[in-house]
């Protein structure tokens, strides 16, 4: 997300890195030009141009992020996961894999378990097959990846859009508007979210938003998870806005005749991008877990559609005799959540060093 330079520089404190020979200064107040224009040239007279090239906040953050090896590893895994999720269906088509294809000839009908050791691992089924149906676990993990990520990203976007707008409106206008929105946030935060989500998901299963089947289940999950999570970001944004709205660049903008919406979306929000990105990255793994929990409880994605939580649910019955089936989806969730969390932490450190 490219940040508006002017607003950016206005919104943040000048940052100085400790590197020898380099002085980086950002503009003390907003201007309309690019960063270099704001350099107090008099101070820099006589210094080699190349050495003092100014860096944007994005560049600074990136430099800082690169230094955090753990975060980079998390980021790489996240990128890979997203690639896998996006390509899940094409990969299946290419190799002729079907997550719902039964191979019951591989199942011992008396015990419901896969024949052979290790959950039925074989060259054809590298991660084994699931009990009762003999479906290929690797393919189902692949199929489950996009479900998890679609729900997690969808819900995160939904809650962030609502949260950011509500937060910035509450923070900027203050007064009665702030009171109403803040009480609304309190109300939402007071909901027993998990119970509520279970109840709503179960109810909406029958049909909602004019949808049916998988699209319905996905939208219900996105709605339930996203809609009730917005106050967390809302509060953060509201707090930041309270500080930002007193800043000079906002006054200046107002003084030049800008109206509410312009200030909200052009002046304030761009300055909030940092916290929003950080919070999103940390919210995604939470949402992945939430989705898995709901599917685990049977109110999320409905069988036969593969989902990680749903696989865990099925595995519970057999964990003593076929641990393989529980370990695989469990690991998938674990790795994904860990990667997003590491990335999120790294991004926070990079974008908002004060919070270190």
């Amino acid at each position: 997300m490219q940040v508006n330079q002017a607003a950016d520089s206005g919104g943040r404190r000048p940052v100085t890195t400790g590197q020898r020979g380099r002085v980086t200064v950002t503009a003390p107040i907003e201007t309309t030009g690019a960063a270099p224009e704001a350099q107090p040239e008099a101070v820099l007279a006589g210094v080699d141009k190349g050495q003092i090239e100014g860096r944007s906040l994005g560049q600074i953050a990136w430099t800082r992020f690169k230094r955090d090896k753990v975060a980079v590893a998390g980021g790489v895994i996240v990128v890979l996961l997203i690639l896998v999720a996006v390509l899940a269906r094409p990969i299946q088509a290419m190799f002729g894999l079907d997550p719902n294809a039964f191979h019951q000839e591989l199942i011992d009908p008396n015990t419901s378990l896969p024949k052979g050791g290790l959950g039925g691992m074989s060259a054809d089924h590298p991660l084994g097959v699931d009990p009762k149906f003999g479906r290929d676990i690797a393919t189902r993990i692949l199929e489950g990846s996009w479900v998890s990520l679609v729900v997690a990203f969808g819900a995160t976007i939904l809650s962030n859009v609502i949260g950011a707008i509500m937060g910035v409106v509450a923070g900027y206008y203050g007064g009665r508007v702030d009171s109403i929105i803040s009480r609304l946030m309190d109300t939402f935060l007071a909901f027993p979210l998990l119970l509520f989500a279970i109840a709503i998901s179960a109810t909406l299963q029958g049909g909602a938003f004019g949808l049916e089947g998988l699209p319905l289940h996905l939208s219900v999950l996105i709605f339930v998870i996203g809609f009730f999570n917005w106050p967390y970001l809302g509060r953060i944004v509201r707090g930041q806005t309270l500080a930002l709205r007193e800043r000079e660049f906002v006054d200046a903008s107002r003084g030049m005749g800008a109206k509410g919406p312009y200030i909200l979306f052009r002046e304030l929000l761009p300055n909030l991008v940092g916290p929003i990105i950080v919070y999103s990255t940390l919210l995604i793994p939470t949402n992945i877990l939430f989705e898995a929990s709901l599917s685990f409880l049977g109110v999320g994605i409905q069988p036969p559609q593969a989902s990680w939580g749903g696989m865990l649910r099925e595995a519970v019955t057999f964990y003593e005799v076929d641990p393989q089936y529980m370990i695989v989806p469990g690991l998938a969730i674990f790795v994904t959540v860990l990667a997003f969390n590491l990335l999120g932490d790294g991004l926070r450190d990079a974008l908002d060093p004060r919070s270190r």
Partner: protein, 591 residues
Amino acid sequence: MEGNPPIMRRSALAAVAAIGSACLLVAGCSKADDNKNDDNNTKAAGANAATKDVVNASTKKGGTVTYELSDVPDSFDPGNTYYAYMYNLSRLYARPLMTFQPGAGEKGNTLVPDLAASKGVPSDGGKTWTYKLRSGLKYQDGSPITSKDVKYAVERSNFARDVLSLGPNYFQQFMAGGDKYKGPYKDKSAKGLSSIETPDDTTIVFKLKTAFQEFDYLVAAPQTAPVPQAKDTGVDYVKNIVSSGSYKFQSYSEGKQAVLVRNENWDAKTDPLRKQYPDKIVVNLKVNAETIDKDVLAGDAIDLGGTGVQAATQAQLLASADKKAGTDNTYGGRLVYMAINTKVKPFDKVECRKAVQYAIDKVSVQTAEGGPIRGDVASTVLPPDIPGYEKSDVYASAGNKGDAAKAKEQLKACGKSSISTNISARSDRPQEIDAATAIINSLKKVGINASLKQYPSGKYFTDYAGVPKFTEKQNIGLIMMQWGADWPSGYGFLQQILNGSAIGESGNTNLSQYDNKDVNALLEKAIGTEDMTARNSLYTEIDKKTMDDAVLVPLTYFKVLLARPQNATNLVSTAAFSGQYDYLNIGTTKK
């Protein structure tokens, strides 16, 4: 979890009870000879031994017998329960007019007089039934049991639906004037329901609206166990049940535990069935299902629900010949099936229904449910342990694996190349969901796309699958279902699921909404037919007609796998109670 369909009758039931009588109960008999795969056990008892004869027969007295249940029963009150296991257990403290003789498999289906001195005497072509009580019957407090108490018990359990609603209400449906009488809590007149007469303290006469030749089965329900009116406190009676059987309550803690001890005022001379072996009987409720399995395998507890072991335990038991020898695998008197909703397009056309019949790979469904141990592939409405069953398979396919070519042919005849519909299943029954998953897979191969809708079993009949308007609105064309007979006869099994006049706005169990005049008439004719053979052949005819109309797809004849606790004595798996052990005379070898 797995394989733990809350049993019986009630499966269907909560709902149904509210509305009509449902069926349920007692299921059929398991045939001992259906289990031939037990040649390899050399242990004393051997696999399936309790389905053939009494295991660990002993007359040793003393000790404590423990029952464990993963849930809570609807009620311990004999007039307010519909679960087969409570029908079974309640006989220890509540004696019905008739009951089932403890016996292995089919032998357990024999009706014998309990409180009554002999079987009912029909007159007026089967419209009037007279029972004589035994003499010398006493409650736990020593007061005498009279036929008026039996009459009162029937009145409170069947006619006061606002107070006691959990049991079936067959008496309300079949007694003359049953629709007008409001029950003893509202109608305080001394006379009560006039169609039940008690000319003296040991005689009770039931007058029915129409001839009902299987009335002896009806009075085998715990609802006929005597309740003294002076001690009845309505729904709270469960806290102070007055025993008429061999055991009485020492303590009862709702939802946790019940402790029964010997009833000194019970006289063995009045009771040829009960032996009163253990000193104490403890019923523990809400015990984790896995814990129950472990306790049973340790030999210390009996699984009260009788639904069989969990899937993981099953896998462990079957993996070793030794352990397998300590199990009983028997029919549970139930049919697992999928109803095809004849009111949802395009299943109003018989060809489309036939396409579904041919498309389903029943072996795949069976494997998904847990394999042959959990049920044999079914092809008739009546399970093999219900009289009237006759082997047939209208929609036969090679190896029961479905016939896609024929299915597509039928689909074409129906004028469709693909169908999009929904299939409903109970969310808290993993086996049902697994079966539905396998069905969805089979149907997809012929172009029928079904998507799964899950609803909680507690409201399956009252709010969802049992509400015709709901199913039509939601396009639910296929409905997963399981049914057990209330008593082991064709009528007890078929009446609630095929009778057109039983279709209600809610709590409906005729899920196919099947309303065929011939079938309705045959049912009525059957129950009025005195000759049992003729009656059974009528049930067979109904079965055939239903299958020709393809309104439901029989999937499996449900079976349970019970682990036999080694310290328990006199274990016998009875067909009368869904293959559960008969709880009347179980003792223990431990002190």
